[in-house]
Amino acid sequence: MSILGTRVIRTEDPRLLTAGAVYVDDLRVPELDGAARVTFVRSPVAHARITGIDASAALSEPGVVAVLTVQDMTDLAPPPPDSGEPVGGEGPAPLGGPWSEPLLAADTVRFVGEPVAVVITDGRYQGEDAADLVTVDYDPLPAVVGPEAALTSESLLFPAAGSNIPLTSPVSADDAPFDACEVVVEQAIVNQRLACMPLEGRATAATFENGKLTVWHSSQNAQLCRLILCGALGMAPDQIRVIVPDVGGGFGAKVGIDRDGLVVAWAARKTGRALRWNETRSENLVGMTQGRAQLHHIKIGGNRDGKILAYRIDVIQDSGAYSRMGGFLPMLTCLMAPGVYDIPAVQAGYRVVVTNATPISAYRGAGRPEAAATIERAVDLFAAEIGMDPAEVRRRNFVAPDKFPFQTKTGALYDSGQYEEALDKVLAGAGYQELRKEQERRRASGDVRQLGIGISSYVEITAADGAAGETAKLEVADDGTATVYTGSSPHGQGHHTAWAMLVQEELGIPMDKVTVVHGDTDLIPVGVGTYASRSLQLGGSAVHKAAVEVKDEARRQAADILEAAEADVVLDTISGLWQVRGDPEASLTWAQVAGHTSGGLVADVSFAADLPTFPFGAHVSVVEVDTETGKVTLLRHVTVDDAGPVLNPVLAEGQRHGGIAQGAAQALLEEVLYDADGNPLTSTLADYAAITAAELPSYELLASETPTTVNPLGVKGIGEAGTIGSTPAIQNAVIDAVAHLGIRHIDMPTTPQRVWTAINEAQKAGNQ
């Protein structure tokens, strides 16, 4: 029987549950004995010129080894010359030229939390004391707060650039498709700024000995870290080893290594001391990249029979102070703009703006949740306008199953999908008709607690960079054990379990004899990493491919030993024995076969996919809204998330659960806020409303598996689907609960204050 598709509990867990994982700050390796602590001096103002830094008081404190600023970076190449043109374009690359981001602030700070200096101390607490004594003189500049202020370019973050808009891809202004519609709805929709907030913040340790830099970093990809370090520090790859130990969550914010980690590595080389840095949560909530932060203006038009004919989305991407991903996020938003719908005319475009806020980068979904949230809101707005059930409007506009592969108007090629089937399944699972009756009953009776039912149908893109592929090296040793070296980089997903399952499936070597190694550039020089829901479809396919190659070589070896024709030698994957067809007496173990070779059985492969995959699904959310207080209670959340065949339902469900919760957090609670001067108002967990168990229900997951043909496992990504599907369903549910009061839209997060205000304003409007 195949182990694939079965519920296998994780091999990682016993260690994590009894001894604890080993995150960067837990490392007790000899190289870090006596390591000094790094503490950052960060900007307390959103936008200012630095006119002076005085470290003398700090330097006289006990335990202070050094205070370093940009003036000490004399060993680094100067920034590239100002070409006046942005570099990077649509790829996930930082902008160069006049938009460049320094490692430590040079003469200007552009967000609260920007690194200005580092203090190196012997002890943990000495660093915070000494950092307080570093005096930095700031000459304040007008702060640009929010994307709309950025557009006016009244205050410029980068005067040499001449505007606050590094990238644009203008949306069409052609109104003809809308002029032909019976009904047109327009709406401004906020997709608010969120904190990624992995429970482990950023952490780096570094040593520099005998010309070799070793960097331990909490990251989603060791090899990318090394590449970035090479560029930033002017070193060759063989001079740097990056080790990624256990990682306490990433969610996109730990792709590669950012400026703070680079500074720690540089400081280790500069001082010759072993160094450790582990940020506090208050630093994390201003220093780690954040997500979303888009403002959309949409227009949707169609006929009263429910057919949508035209859709326009104009995206303004607040990139924060430094546009680290260029136009990548809004480009993905525009690519996925029409979602699951076959709309004859789609117009999508964006502007990227810089503001005096924490830089924006990938956060679970990275551009796709924004697309899904807005098209799903738009469809509900259209449904409300024509007075049709939102489920019915969706049905009348889905891409039909016989149209796949489907080329969208925005340039995506959807591989496979069953959108109506997914919606029907989730509606049946939720008991949609009964819920509508209960809603009707509560509306008729004027119940204080109104019921809201929200729907989302979604499609998303995973492994968008499938051509970059992933690596796997598989070795079977002469004791019959197997080791997988993966370029993928788990931080909670369960790769060690999943990869061992793939090896057992193909080779019959039991999971407990399979070791998985990741995150060490000396052992795995080439790898891409874990992000964009790419791991199983690329990294898993690479492991599968390596296993097939090892099996082919083993078959040749076994045939040689058994003096049989290769075609007659078969592997029994239940017993893990090589046998000759028709001769049960002749059999070999993996140890015997591996022992027969000179160098062991090894396959070193990479797997690349020609195309991305497009998981899809449908969610139904049921909320209760207290119309007197505006408080929303999420009662039920039912989902179909189809990412193709499921390798291990335990892991896939876990990904869906976590995704749903993060989507619910955006819909209901979480938002990074700044005051008018650019001061963050949510820089501790006492202020940032991270969602808890008390605000969430148990989830109701329904199964659906539509395979893809773009990889041998037939799988798509599942890591971000829950987030992409849940956010719009919950937001739609909240608005649905109060729609009968005359409310058509409430921006996220749908906090009690915001919902109460909407109700209050609707009542005032009704009384006039």
Partner: protein, 156 residues
């Protein structure tokens, strides 16, 4: 100042700064690194340990305050190599992903079940309000807590 703590049954004495937090005593002095620090406002619960059997957030207790008391961390929960029922339930129910919140979450549930051996789902959810998890969406953590409670009922 000199402090004397019993950590997972072992007596540890040390001369520490007055302001040393219990969590840093556990990590840096006792060298027990399973207990993590996830925030600086007593909000996340990653650092939850038991002090004389009661759950505390060890980032908000001074080592000095814990002097003379017994501390249990997740490293001290298993007996003779056998996982505690709550640890076992976390494994069976996939109650952890990245593992960072896990030691604190497990200790919070041990304490919760001691106070209320037969909680409802809602009571578990309310009881875990002070422990954040970013990976699991809490679904399987709640199931693990209920499963451990069920096991407790069977063995009682």
């Amino acid at each position: 100042m000199k402090v004397d703590l019993t950590v997972n049954g072992k007596d540890i004495s040390a001369d520490v700064e007055d302001r040393m937090l219990l969590v840093h005593f556990l990590r840096d002095v006792a060298d027990l690194t399973a207990t993590n620090v996830g925030c600086d406002t007593t909000s996340c619960g990653a650092c939850t340990v038991l002090l004389d059997g009661e759950s505390v957030k060890s980032c908000t207790v001074l080592a000095a305050q814990a002097s003379g008391h017994e501390i249990t961390t997740v490293e001290g929960l298993a007996t003779n190599g056998e996982m505690h029922p709550v640890q076992r339930a976390f494994h069976q129910e996939h109650g952890l992903q990245c593992g960072f919140c896990t030691p604190g979450m497990v200790m919070a549930i041990v304490s919760l079940l001691k106070e209320n051996p037969d909680p409802s789902e809602q009571q578990v959810r309310q009881g875990l309000e002070g422990n954040l998890c970013r990976c699991t969406g809490y679904h399987n953590i709640v199931r693990a807590a209920l499963a451990a409670a069920d096991e407790g009922k069977v063995s009682a």
